[in-house]
C-alpha cells in the first residue's frame, strides 16, 4: 500500500534517476532524434520533485495532477504532453484513495497508458515509450491478478518495461522524430522507452 508520501518519494526517485541518466537519454536521442530528451526530462522531473516542498497536497490524485501539469508546462517536445497526460490520467482512478493497493494502481496505470495512446496514437512496435509501457502494464496486471502486492507487481512491470525497452532497438520507428530516419532508425534503443523504464523502475523502488 502506497500513501501520498510514497508517491512523493516515487517522483523524487524519478527525478534522481533521470538526473543520473540525462546524458544517456540525450545520447540516445542524438542517434535518432534531436539530442534533447535527457535535458527535457531532467528539466521537467526536477520541477516535479520540488512540488512537495512548495505546496501541501491534500491527496494523491491532486498531487499527481500537479505532476502532470508540471510536466506539460516544463518538458516541451513530444514527451512533455505524453508524460503529462500519463500523470494527469493516472490521477483519475486514485481520486478517492489515501492508500493505493495493486488493484487501484493497475487501473491508474491503464488509464495513464491509454492517455499516452490517445495523445500520441502510438501502436505496439512503433518504437516509442509505449513499447516499454504496454508490456509493463500487462506484466503488472498479470502479477497483481495472481495475488502479488503493489511492490512485487511493479517489479514485474519494471522487468517487462526493461525488456520492452531493449526490444525497441531493432525496431524501425513509425512515430515521432525517429520515424524520419526510416530504416536508419533501426539499431538504436528508443529514448522515450528508456525514460519510461526509468519511471517504472523508480515506482518499483518506492511504491511498495
Amino acid at each position: 500500500m502506497a500513501d501520498l508520501n510514497a508517491f512523493q518519494s516515487w517522483i523524487s526517485a524519478c527525478s534522481a534517476s533521470i538526473d543520473d541518466r540525462a546524458e544517456d537519454l540525450t545520447e540516445l536521442d542524438r542517434a535518432i532524434g534531436d539530442a534533447d530528451h535527457g535535458s527535457n526530462m531532467k528539466r521537467g522531473m526536477s520541477a516535479c520533485a520540488q512540488l512537495a516542498e512548495q505546496e501541501d497536497f491534500s491527496s494523491i490524485d491532486a498531487y499527481l495532477k500537479k505532476v502532470g501539469m508540471t510536466l506539460v508546462s516544463t518538458v516541451g517536445g513530444a514527451s512533455g504532453p505524453l508524460y503529462g497526460t500519463f500523470f494527469l490520467r493516472l490521477a483519475g482512478p486514485l481520486a478517492a484513495s489515501e492508500d493505493v493497493g495493486p488493484r487501484e494502481f493497475g487501473q491508474a496505470l491503464r488509464a495513464g497508458v491509454e492517455g499516452i495512446v490517445a495523445r500520441g496514437k502510438a501502436e505496439a512496435g512503433d518504437k516509442t515509450m509505449y513499447d516499454a509501457l504496454a508490456p509493463a502494464l500487462e506484466a503488472f496486471d498479470e502479477a497483481s491478478g495472481s495475488g502479488a502486492g503493489l511492490g512485487e507487481s511493479l517489479q514485474a512491470a519494471a522487468q517487462a518495461a526493461a525488456e520492452g525497452r531493449d526490444a525497441t532497438e531493432p525496431m524501425v520507428a513509425r512515430k515521432g522524430r525517429a520515424s524520419y530516419l526510416g530504416e536508419r532508425s533501426a539499431g538504436h534503443q528508443d529514448p522515450g522507452a528508456t525514460s519510461a523504464t526509468v519511471l517504472i523502475e523508480a515506482a518499483a523502488q518506492t511504491l511498495t
Binding site: 534531436d34 534533447d36 516541451g76 522524430r177 524520419y180
Partner: protein, 336 residues
Amino acid sequence: MAPMKKLLNDPADVVVEALAGMAAAHPDHLRVDLDHKLVLRADAPVSGKVALVSGGGSGHEPLHGGFVGRGMLDAACAGEVFTSPVPDQILAATTAVDGGAGVLHVVKNYTGDVMNFEMAAELAAEAGIQVEAVVTDDDVAVQDSLFTAGRRGVGVTVLLEKIVGAAAEEGQDLAACAALARRVNEQGRSMGIALTSCTVPAAGKPTFELAEDEMEIGIGIHGEPGRSTEKLAPARDIAARLVEPVLSDLSLKRGEQVIAFVNGMGGTPLLELYVMYGEVKRLLDDAGVTVARSLVGNYITSLEMAGCSVTLLRVDEEMVRCWDAPVDTPGLRWGG
C-alpha cells in the same frame, strides 16, 4: 568536455537572454514576455484583426520571433532550443493577441509541436477564444505515409507566415486566413541538405557526425539525420538533388509560377547561397517554371549548421499580392 564555440553565458539561459536582447534591440516593434518566453507585437492585441501565433523550438532564428510585427505574426512562442514550446506559453500568447477575430496557430509538423499546440488550443477554446490551427508539412525528404509522423514543416512556414500575415492585415476573417494558409501549405514543398552538424547549447556537442567529405541529404532543421549520407558534390549537383524531388512532388508544369526560396541553415555564407540560387534558377528555367518572386538568405536556420534548403511554392494571384504587401518585422521588412 571542451567549452563550446558559442557566444552565451549559462547554456540554460540562452533562450531567455536572447529574448531579452531582442526586446532591447527592437523596442518600437516588439514586446517580450520573459516568463512565458513570448515575442509579441508591440501593439497587440490589434482589435478586429485575426491574430497569427506561431512558435517552436528556438535555434531557427529569425523564425519565429523575428517574424513578429505588422503584416506577419502577432506572437511567437519560443521553446527551448529545438524543443517545442509548452501549452502554457501558447495559451498565454493566444490570449494576449486575440483581438476578437480569432487566432490562427501556425504549427510545424513535429509530434511535439503538434501535441503542445493541440493542448493549448483545447485550453483556449475552453476560455472562449476561437482558434484554428494549420500544420505545415512541406519537407519532401520525409515520406508522408502511415509509417512516419508525416512530412516535417520547414521552409514553407516562412512563406506562409508572410502571406497569411498579410491576409490578416487586409482584414480577412479566421476561416479565410486558415483556408489560405492550408492552400499555401498544399502548394509548397521543400528539401534540405547539411554540410555540417550543429551543436545544441545544452548538449554541448554536435548532434550528428559527418565525415570531412560527406554531406547529409534530406536534413531537417533540428540536426535530425536526413535521408542519406553522401559524398560532397558541386553546387550544381546539390541543387539538382534538392530541386528535382520538389518539382516532381508538386507536379510543377511548364508555365506555372512559383516563389523560389533558397534558405541558409545558418552557417553557410550568403555568397554560397547566391551560388545555389543561380543553380536553382537555371533548373527552374530548364523546367519552364517561372519565378514570380524569390527569397535568398537565412530565414529558418538550424543554429550554425552549414547547408541550405530549397522551397518552391506554386503561387496564385492572391498569394503574390499578399507576398508583396508591406511587412515590418526584424527578419522581413519591406513596403511602406
